[in-house]
Symmetry: C2
Amino acid sequence: MRELDPFFKPQGIAVVGATDTEGKVGNVIVKKLLENKAEGKLEASVYPINPKIDEVENMKCYSSISDIKGELDLAVISIPAPKVPDTIEECGKNNVESAIIITGGFGELGKKGKKLEKEIKELGNEYGVRIIGPNCVGIFDSDNGVDTVFLPDDRMDRPGKGNTSFISQSGAFVATMLDWASMKDFGIAKTISYGNKIDVNDSEILHYLKNDNKTDVITMYIEGIDEGRSFVDSARKVSKEKPIIAVKSGKSEAGASAASSHTGSLAGSDKVYEAAFKQTGIIRADDFFHMFDLAKALEKQGPANGDNISIITDGGGAGVMATDACEEQGLNLAELSERTESKIREEFPPHAIVGNPTDVVGDTDKERYEIALRNMINDDNVDGIVIIILFQVPLLEDEVVDRVAEYANNTNKPVVACAMGGEHTKPHADKLEKLGVPTYPSPERAVRAMKGLVDYGNIKKGNEI
Amino acid sequence: MRELDPFFKPQGIAVVGATDTEGKVGNVIVKKLLENKAEGKLEASVYPINPKIDEVENMKCYSSISDIKGELDLAVISIPAPKVPDTIEECGKNNVESAIIITGGFGELGKKGKKLEKEIKELGNEYGVRIIGPNCVGIFDSDNGVDTVFLPDDRMDRPGKGNTSFISQSGAFVATMLDWASMKDFGIAKTISYGNKIDVNDSEILHYLKNDNKTDVITMYIEGIDEGRSFVDSARKVSKEKPIIAVKSGKSEAGASAASSHTGSLAGSDKVYEAAFKQTGIIRADDFFHMFDLAKALEKQGPANGDNISIITDGGGAGVMATDACEEQGLNLAELSERTESKIREEFPPHAIVGNPTDVVGDTDKERYEIALRNMINDDNVDGIVIIILFQVPLLEDEVVDRVAEYANNTNKPVVACAMGGEHTKPHADKLEKLGVPTYPSPERAVRAMKGLVDYGNIKKGNEI
């Protein structure tokens, strides 16, 4: 799939429809690209194009693509829909291999738009121009500064570098998710929004991200997949090497019909998707929070080798909730070996509860967490550990964070954590996560994350999830 | 239930087991009460009691309850379990009507502890001393400064005043929830943790909160209810006047067994609870996030008169998700009247989508939100409105928040909002919520909140939910 490289690693980017008018798409994109260039993030040259003006953002504005002498492999197009075919033809004639069509007003508006899409697609095929869009926000790459998301910084923050990429039919979700990820300090590798996807589709992007060394985890928002067969083939291959997590909307009949008036995609029966996801090893998330919870777990921890989970907690109630959540998620409560139980009991005070959950109780210190964690890691009956730390308890030393992380980082068994609370808890939770242990604000969310690690273990082995 | 007044509106509080040792329960409680007194929040007098020392926190420490001359109606007890019976007897002999036993090490540890509990309970009955606990964190009241939650400020923040109260068997959850609520700026009226509840139980507290004018919404964390009949009677009466939302753990068999080793409570079959909740009009929440989401909605909005919900969105994908969520929650997608649709269409540009969801699309201004909202409010086919605002869209004015709130505050139909995003979105979402429209970070959570308003409408009417 070298074919997609010009989108992601362009040498030169033309912004067709560049303008000085504040807030307009053609202005926001030029500005953002120039800003990224000034900061040394973006290597590609940037060429504003607009036949009506001479300068944009104090640099020369070209009247057409053919005027550009330098290396040019990507056109970002934001001009009225009826003018787009001419631009694609011009791209083709000037060996511009790729185009992102930001402009909306195509297939989503009905027959006339669909006809225009067909025309553009045929021109692309004829001239060898690959197309993302139309009706999309294109690409955001935290690493190399390619950013065609046309929301200005005061409407949407950009997150820092990370290892999760996000593919989305919906441009609005790319914008909200980038903004959200930035606020949550969740790094993002790439986001790709393809809108009406008349050409480049999910299968190709999946395949491209499989070979992208910046991407460890692939997340997707899907309304409908048209290229069923190739998608299944592609996802099946990719999911063996990198986890794919998808939010699929249009689950209900009413939702599917709403999706169809949104991007014109035929959502199809949810059962078909559910089955396809299972077969191809895509982990389905209920919503975006769930998706990022899973992504975080899969970025930071390896897959589990089985579904026997043990729980350590300093709050009895939280342990009960985690236990319920395990059962709800179809995870097995590990039966600790006798040896493990007796070794823990040896070192525990009598009022602490040894078992699964193991309750280190409210007067715990960091020692008890270490004892429980060490012995569970060494127990063959345990495949993964959910560790709940309520940092409110009075005698628990801050160093519990370092100790837990050290154990978690020296075992192949996945460890996920739950830290419930507020301002006092937050720095501890953040630190634990920075040290490599994905940390969640509720037992339920921690257990759901563990389920993702168990699922991915099965996907890796070729088992159905 | 004037009987419980001494717990919640004491004239004098004795802290039995007061000490100067930093971090110890008897120190944290004295300090917190004195601090609240110094700040003018707490009216009651505070009397440290410990026969071994003369002063605590620079004030006179009494050797026993009988030494106190002033008005005294509440004893907060934090001394070793075996010494508690004597203190209860002393309370009784000195007309101290109520006692919170913080101390653990009773029924939750087995037979011996259960015997001690029985002894204490009998003494309480004999002398007319009502008891909360043992093994609990007691009471937090944001309004009058009664606060026996023994976590110091550097471990747990206290939230400001609010209209939701929280009853919890688990003390740890009171601590984590107070801390969390404080971080989220979610005001709390009272929290009551009763631990092993040998005397004062859920039914009584429910009844008390029904008559408490500071409490509008009652939330509960339940592991097990022993007093089945009286609980059902009490909850049925209370839920007609104030919403009750409960998280019940120990759903699964494994969870129920974990709950039993936690507070020694018999969780019983989840189906029994599920049925009891339905009969008595308790709205069940899946977890704490869900519980607070519902509480927020029920605090700020009235119940819905039916289950026909309409959706307004500026992001197509978010509209699809809300539609799915309605179906999942068993809500009905309202069929807008022809009149409504044509009135909206009249004022909308052709590319906006009129229907349910109504998509004001990405180039929306505040006008389109107003047009859609006004017409849906006037449509008899609509019982409640979910309004999704992605504030990232470039042309939307900040004043949309004021306009939406104004419409929402001038109708009996409940309106809940969803605002997805990050730092740019947060101030708008916060403002919208302050103006009375409960606002959630995802369409799913907004719809689940609306479900709570529909449920409460049914509960008020005496329908089963």
